[in-house]
Symmetry: C2
Subunit: 358 residues, 2 copies
Amino acid sequence: MAPLLKDELDIVIPTIRNLEFLEMWRPFFEPYHLIIVQDGDPTRTVMVPEGFDYELYNRNDINRILGPKASCISFKDSACRCFGYMVSKKKYVYTIDDDCFVAKDPTGKDIDALAKHIQNLLCPSTPLFFNTLYDPYQEGADFVRGYPFSLREGVPTAVSHGLWLNIPDYDAPTQLVKPRERNGRYVDAVMTIPKGSLFPMCGMNLAFDRELIGPAMYFGLMGDGQPIGRYDDMWAGWCVKVICDHLGLGVKTGLPYIWHSKASNPFVNLKKEYKGIFWQEDIIPFFQAAKLTKECDTVQKCYISLSQQVREKLGKIDPYFTKLADAMVTWIEAWDMLNSKDSKDSKEADANGKLKGK
Amino acid sequence: MAPLLKDELDIVIPTIRNLEFLEMWRPFFEPYHLIIVQDGDPTRTVMVPEGFDYELYNRNDINRILGPKASCISFKDSACRCFGYMVSKKKYVYTIDDDCFVAKDPTGKDIDALAKHIQNLLCPSTPLFFNTLYDPYQEGADFVRGYPFSLREGVPTAVSHGLWLNIPDYDAPTQLVKPRERNGRYVDAVMTIPKGSLFPMCGMNLAFDRELIGPAMYFGLMGDGQPIGRYDDMWAGWCVKVICDHLGLGVKTGLPYIWHSKASNPFVNLKKEYKGIFWQEDIIPFFQAAKLTKECDTVQKCYISLSQQVREKLGKIDPYFTKLADAMVTWIEAWDMLNSKDSKDSKEADANGKLKGK
């Protein structure tokens, strides 16, 4: 059997290291095309194991392809990965961190995380009413008594958020308080996050439908020259969830697990997160209250409307949010530049990847 | 160690059979007080295994204790169980069906469902923001990165909704279509149902805090003389969730599992559910849109306000809902009659149980 969606999915990997971690993923990833976004020093050579089909972009490539619009892509932060979402020409994207390995299910079998994400994305979501037996479309499950029949078709799934065994995705304070905590609990479930409920989206093990939600998957301004880090995926998740709720799209979380191998340094993390710990107390109520009008009928329009609200409401908290609102607009311009049908830039991006493997 | 909450929890069991199923639960239930609500023919004697501490109420008892207000308690339907919630004098209630047995966890160990419910109830809930690692208060888990610190205290838990292995809680159409489907998936998680999201609450394996939410746990008018059945727990769940959301209380679902031994007859069920299948299409949007004002600062006031909205909005669908709205008011009157401090009736109810065991 051919690998599912072989020609419709790109795997996006941000890295500052060599990519030996791909060896462990070879049986699962080798049929797919990889988009590697090299962070940090562009003169450094990233080693990619033999046999993988990939294109690689470093900072010079990003600057050349986007020109002045490259300012919206973060530097020295894994937030740079969203450039990969933008240059992909596929319907689906899976993104994974280079310190994530293949996890085992409780029977000891290797988990094909990508296959499970694809299954999640190809199955509808049920954000309008909670199903107590979790994913009703799964083999051996269904909608329970009392679930309205009119809602059983579900809605298209835009996002599949996978979890992590071993090192959990904790913030710096929790890492500091519980340095030895490991996640060993394998929860055998996928569920839809209900409409109206925000969640902390982690970018470590994440798949999405670019056509449905791609332009909202902006990982913000983080890292080099910015007052904050480690909120890139969170920011994207809050924007994505508000827009999915508005457009009637689903967000799933749960399976599949990957094995997260090493905890990042909690002291470094605290420095990066410091302002975010305060800011998120305002950001969450902001997103909970954000309104999108009927006129916002595309992801781009929704996103531009959110950027205006960010400027207006969060701009008061710190000038950073005004910069971020600008960058959100730039991101959409850059996205449309590379993704408009038969655009010149879009074709150039294809030709401009610094390195192509295989 | 003494059993948790031994003197603060009643187990409510509705039955038309003998209660041999208690034998299997003996190690877990024997320390607790049982309230048995006998449905159907009151002259029939329900056999209760030796050694259990119980009081039993049949229809004659209910009529004597509540007088004309007994009209709000259903007959020939497990909805009669809510009478047990009303006469309980304890802070917590656990209710279970008499065809539910002890389930085993994946290691083969008997699950003490009651102990897990108690743990769920004594731990806070997190309805305001989704935690991707499920219950953050559990051993080995916590709040993940991006979870606002101001929300980590959680809110008091009012309801713990447990699940079922073997026979899943399906409606008649699903039973008819999938007669052989069994639930074998043990999902090792407890989660809070987010604020604003309704769910199908099943009464088979359910615990709640009477003081926090008791007066909303009305199982409606079902069975004998009513146009509908098998929506008793659903109705309670919708009311409870709307009120919990308004009062800042939590509802959890997931663990513990019980073993549900036998599927009810799908043809009989279809007859009972028939009108409900249509009605729930209007009932769900009704509850999703229901509004409670600031003045509704007790469960009783919330419930009376809901009854008015039911009369006004759902009364148009069928005269049944006008009757139900009346019964909702009667229920609250009866609740307050039996539960007001030092009320005469409340003391009488204590003395009037037809049978007391042990």
